[in-house]
């Protein structure tokens, strides 16, 4: 299907155009903007808020022009007060609105964890289902150009630990639109973590409304030897690794987790039962990270099928360095995935 293929930019998409005849290509950032415009057009309860949402850049283009189209009353620039603003968005959601709160960086979420963890996530349970907080929070992972320790974190595992929250990490433009729509329509707080390096990625995005279900992973490439469970930007690194390994006689099955919480453990275990081998590839840290959860799901659900110890590929246990020399060492990618899988397969 066309939306299972994504290209790193519009040029690549167009070069492959014979395969894409009749489908519309849209960049990830534009898919987010289109979803937001459609949601705001069809539902007066939907509004956008966050620092800089109405400036010329428009959160890397994802909110660009919304204030002109819908007015500043529905595209609200805010003070740098992340906890207060998150609580305000949560309160508006509690009282019947459908806010989309946008953060330029995931790193600003820790400032608002009180409102996310103690309030938005708890309101349904704490009051016996008498109220709910249909709040969508978008946050972007930065990477490269010396973004360093406070502008490039992947904090999904902190959020995924909290009952009451949902966490999604779309890897394709198609999913970016479909999961944002699903998040806004969901009656619970949903956090969407986007990766800055995906913003130029181009793929098929249908016009008009559709949703991608929250809680469902997808197989991006079928294979019989090894399961790679990846998320967000690392799905591409996994696909590149799978392509290279094919040339060496190893067939990888690449799963795009799409939703981190609730995780689609069924698809992971089903795949591991077939391949017997598992590699998780995360944008975040290793200890208590998403990879740990992926591995645990396979151990619990497909223990007898495992032919080798699962491997986690993740960030080294250090904050992000600024120097390009260290940055290059810091991020794992295709090379590390290939190495880990070759080692795993040849060892058997």
């Amino acid at each position: 299907m066309p939306w299972t293929r994504t290209y790193r930019n519009r040029d690549e998409f167009e070069r492959a155009f014979p395969q894409n005849a009749g489908v519309r290509g849209l960049a990830y950032r534009d898919a987010i903007l289109e979803a937001t415009v459609e949601l705001m057009e069809e539902d007066s309860r939907v509004f956008v808020m966050g620092q800089g949402v109405d400036d010329a850049g428009g959160v890397f283009g994802t909110t660009k022009g919304l204030h002109e189209r819908f007015g500043k009353g529905r595209c609200i620039d805010t003070a740098l007060a992340e906890n207060g603003i998150t609580g305000i968005a949560a309160g508006a959601a509690l009282c019947g609105m459908r806010p989309i709160l946008a953060h330029m960086r995931v790193d600003f979420i820790p400032l608002s964890l009180d409102q996310i963890i103690n309030h938005a996530a708890k309101w349904s349970y704490m009051f016996g289902g008498r109220a709910s907080v249909p709040l969508t929070i978008r946050a972007i992972i930065g990477r490269g150009w010396g973004s360093a320790a406070q502008h490039s974190q992947s904090l999904q595992s902190i959020l995924a630990n909290i009952p009451g929250l949902k966490v999604v990490m779309p890897a394709t433009p198609y999913d970016a639109k479909g999961l944002l729509r699903a998040a806004v329509k969901d009656n619970n707080p949903v956090i969407i973590i986007e990766h800055r390096w995906l913003y130029d990625h181009t793929g098929h995005v249908p016009e008009g409304p559709y949703t991608v279900p929250i809680g469902k992973a997808v197989v991006r490439r079928a294979g019989k030897d090894v399961t790679i469970a990846a998320l967000s930007y690392m799905v591409y690194e996994a696909l590149l690794a799978a392509e290279e390994l094919k040339g060496r006689g190893i067939e990888c099955e690449v799963i795009d987790l799409r939703t981190i919480k609730p995780m689609d453990t069924g698809l992971i275990t089903e795949s591991v039962k077939k391949t017997g081998r598992l590699v998780s590839v995360d944008t975040g840290w290793r200890e208590c990270g998403i990879g740990a959860e992926v591995v645990a799901s396979a151990v619990e659900g497909a223990f007898g099928s495992l032919k080798a110890a699962p491997v986690r590929i993740s960030l080294p246990e250090a904050p992000t360095p600024a120097s390009p020399a260290l940055e290059a060492l810091y991020y794992p990618g295709k090379k590390e995935i290939v190495y880990a899988i070759e080692k795993m397969v040849r060892a058997v």
């Binding site: 207060g84 009282c95 289902g129 329509k185």
Partner: protein, 330 residues
């Protein structure tokens, strides 16, 4: 009749008195029954502070929103919540206002506009501002009142939220019940100024400090603030100076434990908001002493019924443990 009372309708004065008495007697019922250890949750009582919720909420309609905190029984009662769902919640029963999942610190009554009480100090403040944003976006004539204490003024989120409310001229009233203590830490150990209301000026909004033990003064100050909010004039910060008679948590006084001075408590008990108001209403022939006694008997009966209801109500079922973690998407 004295000047201040003359400007308030008699029916309103009676309602304020009745509300204060309802709150006091509800709290005293907890004090009486808590040693049975059947209410198995921490209780933060507001005895001594009744004039604030009673005076403020007398200005509100059922549709108006209220956000409250861990010391929230009085706010719910003043906004119209019945005793039964509140009492059942304290007993952890399925008939409680939060289905037994919240306890004393997490009360809700959406029909009366109480949208939940947060036990993270200051946590309900931005949510209240968000409620006001929602009603403002919809063009409703709805006002939100946020109750919090002097401890919440310590929190950054108060300042973040008040700033936004003033900037956007939202229909919200901030009511700071200054009882001078955050748990056991006195205001003087935490803040360089004692007039919290004066901080409103920094946000280009009006602030007013009132005697929080004078229900008529609270009523008049909050009436002005509620009217301003309803007309689109933005937020007001009301500081109501008052005092809690019991310890931070639990049914006991705390001077014997050394947390506060006994002399201080005696002083504030001498300024009981209910006794003072009763004297004024009686002196002005608004309610007779006999009617007050009749009112108290009625409340006592209602409370006994609520306790019986709570005690005989079932606990939540096993399947309730994992229900409501997420709201349905049906």
């Amino acid at each position: 009749m004295e000047d201040l009372l003359q400007k308030i309708p008699e029916e309103t004065l009676k309602n304020i008195y009745s509300t204060m008495l309802r709150i006091r007697m509800f709290e005293e019922k907890i004090v009486e029954l808590y040693p049975e250890q059947e209410m198995r949750c921490p209780v933060h009582l507001c005895i001594g502070q009744e004039a604030v919720p009673a005076g403020v909420c007398a200005n509100l309609h059922a549709m108006d929103y209220v956000f409250s905190n861990h010391r929230g029984h009085g706010h719910c009662i003043a906004k119209g919540s019945g005793f039964k769902p509140l009492m059942a919640e304290l007993y952890g029963k399925s008939t409680g206002c939060s289905g037994g999942k919240g306890g004393s610190m997490h009360l809700i009554d959406t029909e009366n506009g109480v949208m939940g009480t947060s036990a993270i100090v200051g946590g309900g403040i931005p949510m209240g501002v968000g409620a006001a944003l929602a009603s403002s976006m919809r063009g409703e004539e709805r006002v939100t009142v946020i109750f919090f204490g002097d401890g919440a003024y310590d929190e950054g989120v108060f300042h973040e939220s008040f700033n936004f409310a003033s900037l956007k001229k939202l229909p919200v009233v901030f009511v700071c019940e200054n009882n001078f203590y955050a748990t056991n830490s006195p205001q003087s150990a935490r803040q360089p100024v004692c007039r919290i209301s004066e901080s409103a000026r920094a946000f280009n909004a009006p602030g007013v400090c009132v005697d929080g033990n004078d229900a008529a003064a609270v009523y008049r100050a909050s009436r002005e603030a509620v009217e301003r909010a309803r007309k689109g004039g933005g937020p007001t910060l009301i500081e109501a100076a008052t005092y809690r008679w019991k310890g931070h948590v639990g049914p006991e006084e705390d001077f014997e434990k050394g947390f506060r001075d006994r002399e201080e408590l005696i002083h504030w008990k001498g300024r009981c908001p209910i006794n003072a108001f009763a004297e004024r209403l009686a002196a002005s022939d608004i309610i007779s002493r006999r009617d007050m006694e009749g009112l108290a008997r009625g409340i006592e009966k209602e409370l006994d019924e609520a306790v019986a209801y709570a005690k005989k109500s079932p606990y939540p079922a096993e399947h309730d443990l994992l229900s409501d973690v997420y709201a349905d998407n049906g």
